[in-house]
C-alpha cells in the first residue's frame, strides 16, 4: 500500500466503508485472544517462587500499562497528522482513543496498587514510574475535558493536539522512568529482547496472548469510537447548517 492510498482513509466516507468490513474481525479476534490469554494465565500457569499467585496479575497489569502508553503515542501520531495535514478523521481518531487509553491507565494503576500491597507492603509510593503514570492519567483527563469544553471542532482539535504533544513527554517518561531514575520500588522491564531479563517462558507465552488481546481490543474500540465521532461531527455540521438556513 502506498502512502498516497493510505490518505484515502482520511475521507470519512471511505473510513466508514472500510471499517464496516474490518471492525467485526478485530472485535471477535480481540474477544477470542483476551479470553484465551486471561484463562490461560489465570487457570493454567504456576505460582512464582517469590511472588506466589500474585504473578497472575501480570496478565492484566502489563498489557494495560503497555496500552496506556501506546494509546497516547497513537494519539500523538494522529494529532501530528491533524496539525500537518488537517485531516479530520485523524483528529477524531485521537479523540476516540483517549477514553480507552484512560481506562487502560486506570487498570494499570489499580492492578499495580493491588499487586504492590502484598509485595512491597504499600498500595502506593512516589516512585518514578508510578508517579509518571499518575500524571499520564491526569493528562488523559485533561485531554478529554478539553475536547468536551470547546464547541468548535477545529479549535478543539488544535488545542488538544498541542496538549497531546506536551503529554507525550509523560507517556515516554512512564515507559523509561525506571531506566532514567535508577531508584524506586518498581522493577525494570518484564519484557525484553534480552532473554536474561525476560520472565520465564511459562508466564511469557500467555502474557503475549493477553497483550495481543489488549492490542486488538484497543484497535476495535478505537475504530468503533472513531466511526461514532465522524457521525457526531456530521450531525453537528448538519444541525449548524439547518440553524443558518432557518
Amino acid at each position: 500500500m502506498s502512502l498516497n492510498s493510505l490518505w484515502e482513509y482520511a475521507n470519512p466516507k471511505k473510513f466508514i466503508q472500510t471499517t464496516d468490513r474490518v471492525l467485526p474481525w478485530f472485535a471477535w479476534s480481540a474477544a477470542l485472544t483476551l479470553v484465551v490469554g486471561l484463562v490461560w494465565g489465570f487457570f493454567f500457569t504456576p505460582d512464582d517462587y517469590r511472588q506466589g499467585s500474585t504473578v497472575k496479575i501480570i496478565y492484566l497489569h502489563v498489557p494495560s500499562a503497555l496500552m496506556a502508553i501506546n494509546a497516547w503515542l497513537m494519539m500523538l501520531v494522529t494529532s501530528l497528522i491533524w496539525i500537518v495535514r488537517r485531516h479530520h478523521v485523524s483528529a477524531l481518531a485521537a479523540r476516540a482513543a483517549a477514553p480507552v487509553g484512560m481506562i487502560m491507565t486506570v487498570i494499570a494503576l489499580l492492578t499495580g496498587a493491588i499487586w504492590g500491597q502484598p509485595m512491597w507492603g504499600t498500595w502506593w509510593a512516589w516512585d518514578p514510574r508510578l508517579t509518571s503514570f499518575l500524571i499520564l492519567f491526569l493528562f488523559y483527563l485533561g485531554y478529554i475535558a478539553l475536547w468536551e469544553a470547546i464547541e468548535n471542532d477545529d479549535t478543539a482539535a488544535d488545542l488538544t493536539s498541542i496538549l497531546c504533544l506536551v503529554g507525550s513527554v509523560f507517556a515516554l517518561l512512564s515507559r523509561y522512568a525506571v531506566n532514567f531514575w535508577n531508584q524506586g520500588l518498581h522493577q525494570g522491564a518484564s519484557l525484553s529482547l534480552d532473554k536474561e531479563e525476560n520472565v520465564a517462558d511459562v508466564f511469557w507465552y500467555p502474557l503475549l496472548v493477553a497483550m495481543a488481546g489488549f492490542v486488538l481490543l484497543f484497535i476495535a474500540l478505537v475504530l468503533m469510537r472513531t466511526r461514532t465521532e465522524i457521525r457526531a461531527r456530521r450531525m453537528r455540521a448538519l444541525l449548524a447548517r439547518e440553524r443558518m438556513g432557518a
Partner: protein
C-alpha cells in the same frame, strides 16, 4: 478447576474483578454511544431531507 491462590486470593481476584468490570464498562459505553449517535444522525438526515 479454580486454582489455589493461597493467601493472595483477595489481591488476585480483586485485580481480575476490577479490570474486567472496567473493560466491560468501556465496551458498553462505546457501543451505547455508537448506537445513539447513529440513530440521531439518521433522524437529523431525514429531517434535513424533508426540509429540502
Amino acid at each position: 478447576m479454580m486454582p489455589d491462590l493461597g493467601k493472595y486470593a483477595d489481591a488476585v481476584l480483586s485485580s481480575y474483578a476490577v479490570s474486567l468490570v472496567l473493560l466491560a464498562l468501556i465496551v458498553w459505553l462505546s457501543l451505547r454511544r455508537s448506537k445513539r449517535i447513529k440513530s440521531d444522525l439518521e433522524e437529523v438526515e431525514r429531517k434535513v431531507k424533508s426540509n429540502g
